[in-house]
Point group: C2
């Protein structure tokens, strides 16, 4: 018979380098407060506050109502891969063969495939700090070594060719770029991107370009790495711009020479991405859907234009103008000594949920917060009012 | 500027140990023949030929029509975790805390989480050969070492405590059990399972029990490892029994001591499983749905009872009675010298698609084929008729 008491866990070493999302604990606390009747203004959220566009919902519903919902090909349904290729041609004026476009379970699935075929144990990937924390954990998952690059307002919170050169070692395998960036909303400049790609390719490295916030840019637009090289892995998603977070659908553009490896890995690790999501996404590129998405983008721009000056007025410092995504990365050192404590107090005492800097890296997390501006203008204003009251009472 | 010609690929070493599905190439060929007007009998398929049950489709459609489709908690929606716990109580008479049930993107997501938290580089996992090929590739993905155990009709194609003892080394971390098995349809005997669990736990190893074909058993039923130990990782899926393949939804039952690690990994690697699939699956356990699934199980039993004697009559040898899943693993050595060639010829000359043994391991693949009996009785009979004609013409 099995032993009556459970043995101690033998947890793989990688797990001690993989951090939880602190915002999740904050979110759980926010939900507990709401369950107890408190009203909470949510500025911690990482997804747009819009429903999935109706044409997408309807296309998915039609598909599942029609009968069987079988596996799709591992790389995705051909019609969707072709639709994305057309989107690249129309929006970026760049030709990408549909065969190079792989449909995945969100950007998460795309990063698993890219890093799975690229990373040998000990291989190093450079990433911006502050940056999206999962990216370094994907590297660690495959026994690679994430190397943070400290970025700040001087470089618009984006890595540059000079960073690459300074950080490069013979173990450096590549760089993960996120533009627009989470948490800073910053974009890499077009010429800086060209220089960065050159520098990486001169060292036979590989660029992974995370473009999941493309489309959500204000008074500017983001360049795709695909405009300048066929040798980058480009990660994108239907989550943010297309409003499909909960459906879990994204894509990976794969350099020709890696396609066979990516296909093998996708067959084995995933079988395929969600079929209803794939058929729904066929409606994502219809002109009527894109019009709707553009209107939403303008709404987000308005929300940004409300929150950004209000935060500065409260005493937060925002050093680089956020130009994309829906985040503002704010320095709180004039207002508090520790951002995690401030987040805790803002939630408990002011009823405002914000994400602490600790979720985004090791570079000055204690003096930073991430505000999300997906809530509507009146909720954002209510959040600002509450924070003003909180800081005034404390003064 | 980037270099004008692409550099050679630098593909991670793991990819040379990760094999493609050969059946995929066969499937592509079958589809090409169909596109050219040929009629093909499909006996290579790895999914039931039923639509998703209507109550599931309706529950998913209601959910997405109601508005936003946001991320769910990383471990899944609480109502679904609770419904699965109730299912364990009712069907297996075993208490599993809902907190230990993690919702995943298919069994694939569950295996990624289980092996991600268990596997250090060099750790060995034992697996049955023949067996489902992805399982060994999941181990390799995390730099673990898959160790095939040669199983045959004498042990009903299932690993035993004696196998574990004989194969164990200080690097052995655990064993992946699949019962019912793909490709053999065999089940581990209840007492053999108890002995195997004891043997593994005596060595402080961990059992991963792949139970994705549970519910699809004929004139018998499968035991869950959860009936005998709280310390196994149990992988299950809504794909096969519940008819939700294309939705990509499964679950993992996690030993208490590993829960926090699994949650961290799920947050980072997946964010969450498909929300529409999760809300759809809430209808999977309704009595009316379960009645429908039982009727389908009986249909599969009938199809097995048609195909199994017919294959034997054709000259295939089936040494262990398949009791579950929807596969028959047949020895073709009296009919052909190489199963891959036979598969190729059956497709081209007889219009019958079958999976070659090479997809299931290194133990006598050339003398085995896997037949799937998800097609209806008249199609199965047509397939048999064509094979009889083919073998007669060749004789």
């Amino acid at each position: 018979m099995p032993t009556p008491t459970s043995p101690p866990a033998r947890i793989a070493a990688r797990m001690s380098d993989i951090a939880p999302f602190h915002v999740m604990e904050l979110l759980a606390r926010a939900q507990a407060l709401e369950a107890a009747g408190r009203d909470i203004v949510h500025m911690e959220v990482g997804e747009p506050d819009f429903p999935t566009p109706e044409p997408i919902v309807e296309a998915a519903a039609r598909y599942v109502a029609a009968g069987r919902v079988p596996y799709t090909p591992a790389l995705g349904i051909p019609a969707l891969r072709a639709a994305i290729a057309t989107f690249y041609r129309e929006r970026y004026l760049v030709d990408v063969a549909p065969e190079r476009i792989v449909i995945t379970a969100g950007a998460s699935g795309a990063l698993l495939l890219a890093l799975g075929v690229l990373t040998n144990p000990g291989d190093e990937f450079l990433l911006a700090d502050p940056g999206y924390p999962c990216n370094r954990h994907f590297v660690r998952t495959f026994e690679g070594v994430p190397r943070p690059i400290r970025v700040d307002a001087a470089c618009n919170f984006q890595p540059t060719a000079a960073h690459w050169e300074a950080a490069w070692t013979p173990r450096t395998r590549g760089l993960i770029l996120s533009s627009p960036s989470n948490p800073t909303g910053s974009l890499i400049d077009r010429n800086d991107l060209i220089d960065l790609i050159s520098a990486i390719e001169m060292r036979a490295g590989t660029l992974i370009s995370d473009e999941i916030y493309h489309g959500l840019t204000y008074a500017t637009s983001a360049s795709s790495a695909l405009e300048f090289t066929p040798d980058a892995f480009v990660v994108n998603s239907f989550s943010k711009y297309f409003g499909m977070t909960g459906w879990r659908l994204g894509w990976l553009v794969v350099p020709e020479a890696y396609l066979r490896a990516v296909e093998k890995l996708a067959q084995n690790l995933f079988i395929c991405a969600s079929a209803p999501a794939q058929y729904g996404a066929l409606a994502a590129f219809a002109p009527s859907t894109l019009d709707m998405l553009e209107a939403r983008r303008e709404t987000l721009a308005t929300q940004r234009d409300v929150l950004l000056p209000a935060l500065r007025d409260l005493g937060f410092e925002v050093r680089a103008e956020p130009q994309g995504a829906f985040y503002i990365y704010a320095d709180c050192s004039r207002l508090a000594t520790d951002s995690a404590t401030l987040c805790h107090d803002l939630l408990d005492q002011a009823g405002v949920a914000v994400t602490p800097g600790v979720d985004f890296g090791e570079f000055e997390p204690a003096s930073h917060l991430r505000f999300s501006y997906v809530a509507n203008v009146s909720r954002l204003q209510e959040g600002v009012r509450r924070m003003r009251q909180y800081f005034a009472a404390r003064a």
